[in-house]
Structures are given as structure tokens and as C-alpha cells.
Symmetry: C2
């Protein structure tokens, strides 16, 4: 295999795939749910709720942050995370429109 090939696809396809990848683990979906439910930012609370070790949760948070789906600020010993609604909105609409355009012309399944 050796190499990635992901770069050979369009930027839009890559962006969408990265977004999907960020959502491709139940732990990260659970984290997003928790973040959405609270009005204030949480950190260690997530560790208490999820069935995962602190380091693992921290890793998942990092991936969500890298994907741009959450914002995080470090306040010394504690850090604060919350959902980046703008980014989420952007991906979500791109995602939906990707197929909705085509679906109209092509609703009937052929197999």
C-alpha cells in the first residue's frame, strides 16, 4: 500500500470524509452530546460519564478539536470545551446537500 491516496480526491470530498471520520466513533458522538446538553463547558465530567480512561477521552477530544468540531481553551489545570456550531453547521449542510441535489433526479432504485 505504502501511501495514502486520499489526497488524490477533491478537497470537498476530503473535507467531508474528515468530518465523517471525526463522527465515526460512538465515544465522540457521546462527547458531542454531552457538550451540547450543557450550557457551560465541561472537561472531566466527560470522563465520569464515558466508559473510558481519562487519557482516551482526552485523545478523542483532541480529534474532535482537530476536525474543528469543538473549541477548547486551556485554563491552567482545567480545560474548557464546547461545540463549534458554525463548523458543524457548515459540514452538516454540505453533507446534506451533497445528495439532496442528486436525489431528486434519481429516486428510483435500480437494484
Amino acid at each position: 500500500m505504502a501511501f495514502h491516496k486520499k489526497e488524490e480526491f477533491s478537497q470537498k470530498e476530503q473535507d467531508l470524509a474528515n468530518f465523517a471520520k471525526a463522527m465515526s466513533h460512538p465515544a465522540r458522538i457521546a462527547i458531542l452530546k454531552v457538550l451540547a446538553q450543557r450550557n457551560e463547558c465541561i472537561c472531566g465530567e466527560i470522563v465520569d460519564i464515558l466508559p473510558l480512561a481519562q487519557s482516551t477521552v482526552s485523545q478523542h477530544l483532541k480529534e474532535l478539536k482537530n476536525a474543528g468540531l469543538i473549541n477548547g481553551t486551556v485554563d491552567g489545570p482545567r480545560s474548557c470545551y464546547c461545540i463549534n456550531w458554525k463548523a458543524f453547521e457548515k459540514f452538516n449542510s454540505e453533507f446534506t446537500s451533497l445528495f439532496n441535489n442528486l436525489k431528486v433526479k434519481n429516486e428510483k432504485a435500480c437494484c
Copy 2:
């Protein structure tokens, strides 16, 4: 590490994560686009379009099929794939609603 832990999350979270995983590679997004653009089912055309070997494309198709996002029928030497709009619709709406509910109460970012 040893074990998966994915099972410890809710079924809905797992389903959504699996859906996202199926979409988490640009090649699979490209495949879905191709399938959506044609009214008839294609097969080897995808291989010509994508910068990937035939066996790799076949593998991606299998994953999309396993995720339930496409249907496939084998017609002897050639096979026929197309998008399972119903399944796609289901996931897409679940996906959108997951956040839209919460977003209303919690639009303001705190960090």
C-alpha cells in the same frame, strides 16, 4: 487496549458512528457521487474514474454495502450497485436531528 469498548455505547450512537465510518473515506464519497449521478447501475466505471485499483474499489463497495448505504446485485460477471436512498435518508435525518434539537437551547459558544 485489547478491546473495543464500542459496544458500551448506545445503539443509536453506534449506528450513527457506523454510518459516519462508511462515509469517512474520500473514495467512498466519490463512489456515492458516481452512483448518484447515473440512473443506471455501474460497476467497473467506478474503477476507471477513481485513482484506485480494482480490488480496492471492490473493497470500498463492500464496506458501503455492509453499512447498508448501497444495494448490490451480482449478475454473473458484472454486478450492479446503486444507492439505498431509504437507508441514507434514515441516517441523514437521524444525524441532523441529533444536534438540531440541542442547538436551539445552546447556540452560544462559551469558549
